[in-house]
Symmetry: C2
Subunit: 367 residues, 2 copies
């Protein structure tokens, strides 16, 4: 942080903005418009909401209103509208880190789908932190958002329950609470991890390590289960390293990973449970010795553009981003529609795809 700043300086220049008050928005409201047009607010409101025909308002009046409104570039105040209708047409999309490739891609898909239906999406990052998650949920709850799409941090079951009890549509994804009846979209992590591990085994790797996040959340537990299953089915010994989520960037963690990967050449390959672990590990391997890439088999959870550019290209479990986004919005739109009724929860488990690249192909040099 500090280091970065040392290289930089800035130059300032000030200009004076002569705010042209002549053109300042007159703060038009339905009322003011009604009075200048000698009509009532109701009429204006109906026309603006496209209920002109329905309410049998004359075409001349409709045109008059529309033209005037256009000419002054009037936009109804949505805050007032929301207060009145109780709807904000805003959805919240909360993930660990919106700058992460996986989350960001889904965010864009959701945003587009929501846009078409007249909803806007608010993105936010909870860092997988409970306090932050709670803050955000409350904040948006107070702002009356219409629905939540959430990757829950471990301890926010209560908040999720609170939302549901208050009839706010919620869809979880990536993970969920097994003892809470919510709608969710996840992938079959266990199966995916089993298949990925099996792929390494099929390629004649035997000493396969598993590097994961220290977590009690079910997506991670299932990935680990899948790995263990595959290993045990083949009579192989598991070797697992768990990293605390908050310490991924620590120097010590890097050392730990380095040690795990290289010590005594115990491993001939490794399976990473998330993409940010892989990113860190690739950096480490790169720092130490490019040739390690030639020896070590690598498979990772979550695909990334960089994996097909890397040398070697990296084999990855690719989650179906587009489908995840679509299912999420599907469920959300359903909930939004039926809101009032006794609602069923909808649980969707998707399959992922193992994209086989060079990093998991058995290298010639068998030690």
């Amino acid at each position: 942080m500090f280091k970065l700043c040392l290289f930089l300086f800035s130059s300032y220049s000030w200009g004076v903005a002569f705010q042209n008050s002549l053109m300042k928005n007159k703060n038009h409201t339905l009322k003011s418009i009604a009075s200048t047009l000698n009509l009532s607010v109701t009429t204006i409101s109906f026309v603006l909401n496209g209920k002109g025909k329905e309410k049998k308002i004359s075409n001349e009046v409709i045109k008059k209103v529309l033209d005037y409104v256009e000419s002054i570039n009037f936009r109804p105040n949505q805050v007032a509208q929301s207060l009145r209708t109780g709807k904000t047409k805003i959805l919240v999309f909360m993930v660990e880190d919106i700058s992460n490739y996986f989350f960001a891609k889904i965010a864009r898909i959701i945003e587009d789908l929501a846009y078409d239906k007249g909803y806007r999406v608010l993105f936010c990052s909870n860092e997988n932190d409970d306090t932050r998650s709670r803050d955000l949920i409350h904040l948006f709850y107070e702002r009356q958002v219409d629905g939540f799409i959430i990757i829950p941090s471990p301890g926010i079951k209560d908040e999720i329950e609170m939302l549901i009890k208050n009839n706010i549509p919620v869809v979880l994804f990536d993970r969920y609470f097994e003892d809470l009846d919510t709608s969710y979209v996840v992938i079959d992590n266990r199966n995916a991890a089993r298949k990925a591990t099996q792929h390494l085994i099929d390629n004649d790797f035997k000493r396969i390590g598993f590097i994961t996040i220290e977590s009690q959340q079910n997506q991670m537990i299932n990935r680990q289960k899948g790995y263990i299953e595959a290993m045990e089915n083949s009579g192989l010994k598991t070797k697992i390293l768990e990293i605390p989520f908050r310490k991924i960037e620590d120097q010590n963690t890097k050392k730990t990973i380095k040690k795990f990967l290289m010590e005594g050449k115990e491993l001939d390959s490794v399976f990473f449970a998330t993409n940010y672990l892989t990113r860190t590990a690739l950096e480490i391997i790169k720092e130490v010795d490019q040739s390690l890439f030639e020896e070590l088999g690598i498979v990772t959870f979550d695909d990334n553009d960089l994996f097909k550019i890397n040398t070697p290209t990296i084999t990855a479990v690719a989650q179906p981003l587009k489908q995840i986004g679509e299912e999420l919005m599907n469920i959300m739109l359903n909930l939004l529609r039926e809101e009032k009724e006794q609602n069923g929860t909808q649980n969707i488990v998707l399959n992922s795809e193992l994209i086989i690249r060079n990093s998991s192909i058995r290298k010639n040099s068998v030690k």
Copy 2:
């Protein structure tokens, strides 16, 4: 898109949620609270806004209110609050694509700074498209957001002007309109490009190509100017390829880039004007021939984690993300504070840093 889906299927399961209406939020309001506590809404409002002391409300009353409010987990309706106060405490951060590394990183920095000041940030992507930008600006304008931080698409000068005329704080970044007096934060693109090009020249590259986006926006124009300046100063011939923004992912574009890079071995090095061009180009080079990496000098605008993992590691012009974020929020907070007054605009030009890695070091094999 379609291909992706072919690999996938989903399994559905339905559960019935018995919404526990006993626990449903009673829709508390100041009024309802006032009536159950036998107080007036004023008192409740004062206490809730921390004006209890100031308004000399007795400690018992304060405690009574606070305790009750806590017990029912009451949260004031922010929509109503906003309607009343005219403030939403929401800022909008609009960029080309929020999933892009550069934008996402700045977004996170801004989010954190804003959070501390009680502001929430809404992120959105305009795809550098005018229609989409306009939609978004209007949408948020109608929602009465308190301020805009925007990377403007080419043709939205009018909307920006509209915001300013309506006294909405606006800060642009990455680029700006030279004939519009707005606050902005940019980097010295021309200088950065000149230095990056000069770096290649100093490393004995002579046939340096420049791949950029076809754009009239000043950030791109200045990068190109910088490149041309450096080349001409050294008496070298420029060779420029301009790609239309909307066609970056096209197959034809890939072919064009490929041709530009390789045809007749005319180039010994290349300077990419944005990170997404580099990403595409790296893929192409990878597809064609890893050995090209050994021959071709590469420098790119915008750093990325993957550049230090790539083989070879890639030299990049790194923009000062943290500082950009800080300056943006600085200006924004100033504008927010002074809003009423005749405001000066503030223009900040930052320097960037050339991070020298392996890709720009002259290779042994001189043809």
